[in-house]
């Protein structure tokens, strides 16, 4: 069994969590791709932390409105029915529990549900942006990550990097499978075709247990 990184599996699987009416914030990078894989008929609302709900697709070239950007500063659009507001309101929505899901990238995620994704001391210190508010505020926090990066598993026993949030991660979706975080362990709920529970457990340095109804998914 060999590992082949595949970000699309992560985005595809996460997209299946949502039901119509959900309010979702997708982080910059990999999480943004989730929007491309929504099942047909599922209508969700995307929240953009810089100040609106109803985030729409990237505009065609030449049709950019530079007053409508996403949290990465790139031109996007707003859907009919969307609404703009200031940053206090935007983070009030986040902190106040009005988001159903937030999907965030990962430097490290551990079996206690801790997430580190904003800082590598002495190297990369971009800052937390909205990530700390998103993790404490959203009803469900989904960590989205390749299972391995340069040979290192991103799912660890205990984060060594500064935390973005303590004990807030509910779900971890990698390109190998979908895990819940429960009672200090990763619980494998689904493994994706091409991998099996043995491979995942052997190659993940954290404590992983297999859910009673764990199943293979062809994604």
């Amino acid at each position: 069994m060999e590992y082949t990184p595949d970000k699309s599996k992560i985005a595809k699987r996460i997209a299946r969590f949502f039901k119509s009416g959900d309010i979702v914030n997708l982080g910059i990078g990999l999480p943004t791709e989730v929007a491309n894989y929504l099942p047909e008929g599922v209508v969700i609302t995307l929240h953009s932390e810089n100040g609106f709900v109803g985030l729409g697709p990237v505009p065609k070239e030449g049709e950019e409105d530079y007053d409508i950007v996403n949290a990465g500063g790139m031109p996007v659009t707003i859907l009919p029915g969307g609404a703009f507001f200031d940053s206090c309101t935007s983070f009030g929505i986040i902190r106040g529990g009005h988001l159903d899901y937030t999907v965030l990238g990962v430097l490290e995620v551990d079996q206690e549900g801790n997430l580190a994704n904003y800082k590598v001391p002495g190297k990369l210190i971009p800052g937390m942006g909205g990530a700390m508010d998103l993790t404490v505020g959203a009803k469900k926090v989904i960590a989205a990550t390749l299972h391995f990066d340069k040979g290192n598993c991103k799912l660890v026993k205990k984060c060594s990097l500064p935390l973005t949030a303590k004990g807030e991660v509910d779900y971890v979706v990698t390109d190998c499978g979908f895990f819940t975080v429960e009672n200090g362990k990763f619980v494998l709920q689904e493994y994706f075709k091409g991998y099996d529970p043995d491979f995942i457990i052997k190659n993940t340095p954290a404590d992983v247990i297999i859910a009673p109804n764990c199943k293979e998914i062809d994604i």
Binding site: F52, G54, I78, F85, G92, I93, G96, H98
Partner: protein, 228 residues
């Protein structure tokens, strides 16, 4: 964008049960959803807790009954949290007779407590009320040598709001000073019912003008009387 259910007032208030905590928008009756108030009163639900700026006007001599006053007169509340009850003599009577518990909160503190609930804050420090009876039972925290009261968030089961216009997604726009507590209460209740004078198609409201984004609103009620 998903459309919100549009109901008659009678239908919308059905979920409100005895003992619920309700927030009602308005200031001296201005910006209070009267169809919802009347439907709730008719329904007879009791032992409610009311969170509202005031209990509006009840003056039988002048035949004046505004805002939430009918609910007070019909004794629907076991507790009232408000900043002002002076223009509704029945509230004062019930309070003095021990029939209804009344908790008076400074108006700015009341507004901020509701916002804190809606916006996920554990509380806030305000200078308002320091050195007065309002500080009783509250933690006093000093910041840079100045005293503040720690005030805690205030949540509700239901918010009953009045807006001028909604689109079918539930975005709201208010009319003039009838805005008052309505947008704040929209954030702090489990179920938010908005009574509006007009419902337009999704996309008809300018996203720069929307005051309450649709994500806060659960149910729309069209005010057929455009009562004021």
């Amino acid at each position: 964008m998903i459309e919100k259910p549009i109901m008659k007032a009678e239908e919308a208030v059905k979920q409100i049960k005895d003992g619920s905590v309700i927030m009602v928008g308005g200031f001296m009756g201005c910006g209070t959803p009267l169809s919802l108030v009347n439907a709730l009163d008719k329904q007879g639900t009791k032992d409610l807790t009311l969170i509202c700026n005031d209990t509006a006007i009840y003056n039988p001599d002048k035949n004046l009954v505004t805002g939430v006053a009918p609910l007070v007169v019909d004794k629907r509340f076991k507790k009232i949290i408000a900043s002002h009850i002076g223009t509704n003599r029945e509230t004062g009577r019930q309070m003095n007779a021990g029939e209804t518990e009344v908790q008076l909160v400074p108006q700015g503190t009341l507004a901020e407590k509701i916002r804190a609930a809606g916006f996920g804050l554990g509380g806030f420090l305000t200078p308002t009320g320091v050195g007065t009876e309002v500080e009783n039972g509250k933690q006093i925290i000093e910041v840079n040598g100045k005293k503040y009261l720690l005030e805690l968030p205030l949540f509700a089961d239901f918010a009953l709001l009045k807006a001028k216009k909604a689109d079918k997604a539930g975005n709201l726009i208010y009319s003039k000073s009838a805005r008052n507590f309505n947008p704040i209460m929209a954030t702090a209740a489990k179920v938010v019912i908005a009574e509006v004078d007009e419902i337009v198609e999704i996309g008809e409201l300018d996203p720069d003008d929307i005051v309450t984004p649709f994500i806060f609103v659960s149910i729309l009620v069209l005010n057929e009387k455009k009562n004021k």
